[in-house]
C-alpha cells in the first residue's frame, strides 16, 4: 500500500510541476496575480507530493518491504537503521528521487520566499524551475520508478554495498545533491533574467545567496566524499582525479567562479553576461556530473548504481536543458547593457582574473575527464587520463590564482592602489617565502614542490589574516577601536575571510600530506611490529568479532613513540555475507594535525612461517587540514549567507517603508 502511495505521489508531483509551469507562465504573460500565486502554490504542492513519495520509500526501507524491487536490491533486514535510511538514496532510482526532492524543495523555496523579487522575474523563474521538475520527475516516474513491485517476493534483500555502509557516505549524497541541485535555482533565475531581458543588482543579490548555499553544500559534500575515500577504501588517498570525483568538482569550480563574478554584478553592475553564463554553466555541469556518474560511460573506481540506458535519458535531459538555456543566452545576452567601467588595477579586475583562472582550470579538468570519451569515439582506442595530467595542468593554474588571491580583497573598487596593496602584503609575502625556504631547508626528505606548496598555503592563510588586520587597523588603532571595527565587520567579510583561510588550510594540508606521507607494510605475527613516520607499531593480537550484519577480524595495534604508548589502533577487516564482499575498516590515530593510518590486511604466513596478518600503516602528516579546509570554506559560505539574508530583509523592509511613505503621500 505504502509503495502505491509513493508511486501515486510521484505522478501527482509530475502533474503539479506541469501545472506550476503552465500557471506561472500564464501568470507572467497575462500579468495576472492569481495565476502567479496559483503557480507558486503548485510549486509548494509538488514539493509536498515528492516528500510523500520520498517518505513512502523511506518507510519501505525501514520496514524492509522486499516486495518493492528497489528495497530488495539495496536493503537487508540485518542492516543497521542508519544504513536502511541511507539505502533510500543508495541506488539509481532512490538517488533520482532524492534529486527530485531537492529540486522541488528549492523550487518551493523560491516560490514561497522570493517576495522581494520582481513579479515577472519570479514567475519566469518558478516556471523554469517547474520545467526542470517536469523533466526529472517524468524520468523518475516512467523510466526509473523506485516503487516497482516484485513477484514473487524475496525472503531477504541483497543489502547495500558494504562500502556505502559508512556514516560519512550515508550523509554524502544529500549534501552533494543539495549542492548540485541548488544550482538549479541559479539556472532558473538566469533563464528568467534572459526571458525578462534585464539583469540588475537586485537580480545578482538574489543569485548570490542561492549560489552560496549550493556551493557550501557541495563543498561539504565533496569533503565528506573525500574523507570517506580516505578512510574507507584503505588506500590512504583522498583524491584520485577519478571521473566521478571530477564530475562533482567541475560544478564546484564553476560555482566558485560564479560566487565571485556575482559580487561584481551586484556591486558594480559589470560582467552581467558572464555571470548569467556561469549561472547556466553551474547547473549544466551538475547535470553533466549526474550523467557521467550514473551512465558509466567513463570507467571509475567509484561507480555505483550504473545504468547506461537510463544514463542516455539523463544525457537527453542535459542536452535539452543546457541547450535551450545557452541558446536563450546567445539570443538575449548581447542586448544586456554593459556595466560599470573599471581600471586594470581594481577589485573588479582581480575578480575577473580569478574567474579566468577558475574557468581555465575547469576547462582543463573537463578536457581531462572527457578526453578518453572523445578519443574512443574518434579512434576506438581506450585510454585513461591519470593524475599526472591534472597535476600538470590544474595545479599550476590554481597556484597562479592563489598568488593573486590575497591582493583582491585589499584592492578598491573601480581603481585600486597596487603600491599600497603591495605594502600591506609585504609582511605576509615575506613570511610565506620564509616558510617555503625553511621547509625546503629543514624538512627531511627535501621536497621542492612540497616546499612551494607550503609557501602558497602560508601565503593564502597570512593573506586572509592580513586583510582582517588591515580592516580592523590592528596595531595602528587603540585596542577598543580595533575591537569596535572587528565587531562592525559585516558577516559577508567574515565569510570571505573564512573561505580564503579554508583554501589556504586545505593547500597546506594537501601539499604536506602529498609531499611527506610515509607508508610501511609488513606481514606481522602477534607481538611483532613495524615502524612508520617515527612511530613504532606492535600487533598485540587479532581475533574475530561479530558485527550486526558482518563478520570481522579485528586487530589491536599499539602505537608508541619514544617508548611511550600514544594510542591503540583497532583496524578491522569485515566480511559481509549478504553480498559476499570484504571491506577494510581503517583505524585512525589522531596525532595533532596528522594521522597515523592503520589497515588490517589479509591473513598470511610471515617470512619465518608463523601465521600472521598483513598490516599496512601510513603516516599522513597534516592530513586533518585537508578536511578542515573545506569545512572552513563551507562555514564561510554559511556565514556569508546569514549576512545576505539580513541584507535581503533590510532591502525588503526599506522597500516596504518607502512604499508606505508613498502611499501616505
Amino acid at each position: 500500500m505504502i509503495a502505491e502511495l509513493g508511486a501515486f505521489s510521484l505522478v501527482l508531483a509530475l502533474a503539479l510541476s506541469a501545472a506550476q509551469v503552465a500557471l506561472s507562465a500564464a501568470g507572467r504573460i497575462r500579468g495576472s496575480e492569481p495565476l502567479r500565486r496559483a503557480g507558486e502554490g503548485a510549486a509548494g504542492a509538488a514539493f509536498l507530493a515528492v516528500l510523500v513519495a520520498f517518505g513512502a520509500l523511506t518507510v519501505s526501507f525501514l520496514t524492509s518491504d522486499f516486495s518493492v524491487a528497489n528495497v530488495a536490491a539495496n536493503s537487508h533486514t540485518d542492516k543497521p537503521l542508519l544504513y536502511k535510511v541511507a539505502g533510500v538514496w543508495g541506488s539509481h532510482e532512490g538517488s533520482l528521487l532524492l534529486w527530485c526532492l531537492t529540486l522541488t524543495g528549492f523550487g518551493a523555496a523560491v516560490a514561497l520566499t522570493g517576495e522581494s523579487l520582481p513579479k515577472g522575474l519570479k514567475a519566469s523563474a518558478v516556471a523554469t524551475q517547474g520545467a526542470l521538475g517536469v523533466l526529472f520527475l517524468a524520468f523518475a516516474a516512467f523510466a526509473s520508478n523506485p516503487f516497482l513491485r516484485l513477484n514473487p517476493v524475496p525472503v531477504e534483500g541483497r543489502s547495500l554495498n558494504p562500502l556505502l555502509q559508512d556514516p560519512a557516505l550515508a550523509l554524502h549524497p544529500p549534501f552533494l545533491y543539495g549542492g548540485y541541485v541548488g544550482f538549479s535555482v541559479v539556472f532558473s533565475l538566469a533563464v528568467a533574467a534572459l526571458i525578462e531581458g534585464r539583469v540588475d543588482a537586485a537580480w545578482a543579490r538574489w543569485v548570490r545567496p542561492w549560489t552560496l548555499a549550493a556551493w557550501s553544500l557541495l563543498t561539504a559534500g565533496i569533503a565528506l566524499g573525500a574523507f570517506w575515500a580516505y578512510y574507507e577504501l584503505g588506500w590512504g588517498g583522498w583524491w584520485f582525479w577519478d571521473p566521478v570525483e571530477n564530475a562533482s568538482f567541475m560544478p564546484w569550480l564553476v560555482g566558485a567562479a560564479l560566487l565571485h563574478s556575482a559580487i561584481v554584478t551586484e556591486k558594480r553592475g559589470a560582467l552581467v553576461g558572464w555571470t548569467v553564463f556561469l549561472a547556466l554553466a553551474a547547473f549544466s555541469f551538475s547535470m553533466l556530473g549526474a550523467f557521467l556518474v550514473r551512465s558509466g560511460v567513463l570507467t571509475s573506481v567509484h561507480a555505483f548504481a550504473v545504468d547506461p540506458a537510463r544514463g542516455l535519458v539523463l544525457l537527453a535531459i542535459l542536452g535539452v536543458t543546457a541547450g535551450s538555456g545557452f541558446a536563450l543566452f546567445a539570443w538575449r545576452a548581447p542586448a544586456f547593457a554593459p556595466g560599470g567601467v573599471f581600471a586594470p588595477i581594481s577589485r573588479e579586475s582581480s575578480l575577473v582574473l580569478n574567474n579566468l583562472f577558475l574557468a581555465a582550470a575547469t576547462a582543463t579538468v573537463l578536457l581531462g575527464t572527457l578526453y578518453p570519451l572523445m578519443l574512443e569515439a574518434a579512434t576506438g582506442e581506450t585510454i585513461s587520463v591519470g593524475p599526472a595530467y591534472f597535476n600538470l595542468t590544474f595545479a599550476p593554474l590554481m597556484a597562479a590564482a592563489a598568488l593573486i588571491l590575497p591582493a583582491g580583497p585589499l584592492l578598491a573598487w573601480k581603481r585600486g592602489d597596487l603600491k599600497g596593496v603591495i605594502q600591506r602584503l609585504t609582511a605576509a609575502a615575506g613570511l610565506a617565502i620564509a616558510a617555503a625556504v625553511l621547509t625546503y631547508a629543514l624538512v627531511e626528505p627535501r621536497k621542492a614542490f612540497g616546499a612551494v606548496g607550503v609557501g602558497i598555503g602560508a601565503w593564502l592563510v597570512l593573506g586572509a589574516l592580513a586583510e582582517v588586520i588591515e580592516r580592523a587597523r590592528v596595531g595602528r588603532a587603540r585596542a577598543g577601536e580595533v575591537w569596535r571595527r572587528l565587531k562592525g565587520l559585516p558577516r559577508g567579510a567574515w565569510g570571505m575571510t573564512l573561505g580564503h583561510l579554508g583554501l589556504g588550510v586545505f593547500v597546506l594540508g594537501a601539499c604536506v600530506e602529498t609531499g611527506w606521507k610515509q607508508e610501511s607494510a609488513e606481514v606481522l605475527a602477534p607481538g611483532r611490529g613495524l615502524e612508520v613516520g617515527g612511530y613504532a607499531l606492535r600487533l598485540d593480537r587479532a581475533g574475530a568479532v561479530d558485527g550486526p550484519n558482518y563478520l570481522a577480524e579485528r586487530a589491536s595495534v599499539s602505537v608508541s613513540k619514544d617508548g611511550s604508548t600514544v594510542c591503540t589502533a583497532e583496524p578491522e577487516r569485515r566480511f559481509f555475507p549478504a553480498g559476499g564482499q570484504t571491506t577494510s575498516e581503517v583505524a585512525l590515530c589522531f596525532r595533532g594535525l596528522s594521522d597515523l593510518y592503520v589497515v588490517l590486511g589479509e591473513r598470511r604466513a610471515t617470512a619465518a612461517g608463523e601465521p600472521g596478518w598483513l598490516v599496512r600503516a601510513y603516516w599522513n602528516p597534516w592530513a586533518r587540514l585537508i578536511f578542515l579546509g573545506p569545512l572552513l570554506m563551507a562555514a564561510g559560505g554559511l556565514v556569508s549567507l546569514s549576512d545576505r539574508r539580513l541584507r535581503l530583509g533590510v532591502a525588503a523592509r526599506r522597500a516596504a517603508a518607502s512604499a508606505k511613505a508613498e502611499a501616505a503621500a
Binding site: 524475496p154 560511460v297 570507467t299 550504473v306 578536457l367 599526472a388 595530467y389 600538470l392
Partner: protein
C-alpha cells in the same frame, strides 16, 4: 599609442582579451603538453599480445582474474593471470590487493611489461561495486567474443535466486 582603439569600451575589451589570451593559451599549452605523458592506453590481454607494447611503457591491462591463478609469493608479492578467455597475461604485483580483488572478478592493472614479457603492475584497480564491470573489460570481452553478460547487473530486478542468496 595611436594604434589603440579610441572608444573606451573597445579599449576595455582589448585589455580583457590581452589578459585572458595568455591565461587561456597557457591552459591549452599545459593541457596538450601534459596529455602526452599522462595518457595511459588500455588493452585486453589479446589486444596486448597483438599490439607489441614496448617494455617499460605504462599501460593498463584489464580482464577477468583467472580462477586458480592467484599465487602469493613469500616476499609479499602476488602473481595472477588476467584473461579475456582467448589470451591471458601474467601479472606480478607487489602490494596489498584491493578488498574486491577476487578470482573471476574483472580488474584493471596499471603497470608495464618487462623485457621477458611479464607484466609488473604498479596499481591494481577493482571496483567498489561487486556487480559493476569496468566498461573496458566488458568491451574487451565483447571484442574477443567471450561476453556472457553481467550477472545481476540490472540491480533493479533481482532474480529470485540472487535475492534469496
Amino acid at each position: 599609442m595611436g594604434f589603440l582603439p579610441k572608444s573606451r569600451t573597445a579599449r576595455r575589451r582589448l585589455t580583457i582579451v590581452a589578459v585572458a589570451a595568455p591565461i587561456l593559451a597557457a591552459a591549452v599549452g599545459l593541457s596538450l603538453w601534459a596529455m602526452r605523458d599522462a595518457v595511459v592506453f588500455f588493452y585486453g590481454p589479446s589486444q596486448a599480445q597483438a599490439a607489441q607494447i614496448p617494455p617499460g611503457r605504462t599501460v593498463r591491462i584489464g580482464g577477468l582474474v583467472e580462477t586458480g591463478s592467484v599465487a602469493k609469493n613469500p616476499d609479499g608479492s602476488v602473481a595472477f593471470t588476467v584473461t579475456d578467455n582467448t589470451a591471458s597475461t601474467r601479472i606480478l604485483y607487489r602490494g596489498d590487493l584491493p578488498d574486491l580483488f577476487r578470482e573471476g572478478q574483472g580488474i584493471v592493472a596499471q603497470g608495464a611489461f618487462d623485457r621477458s614479457g611479464g607484466f609488473e603492475a604498479k596499481q591494481v584497480l577493482a571496483k567498489h561495486d561487486e556487480t559493476y564491470m569496468p566498461r573496458e573489460v566488458a568491451d574487451a570481452l565483447k571484442a574477443s567474443g567471450e561476453w556472457r553478460g553481467e550477472d545481476g547487473k540490472t540491480a533493479n530486478a533481482p532474480d529470485g535466486a540472487a535475492a534469496a542468496r
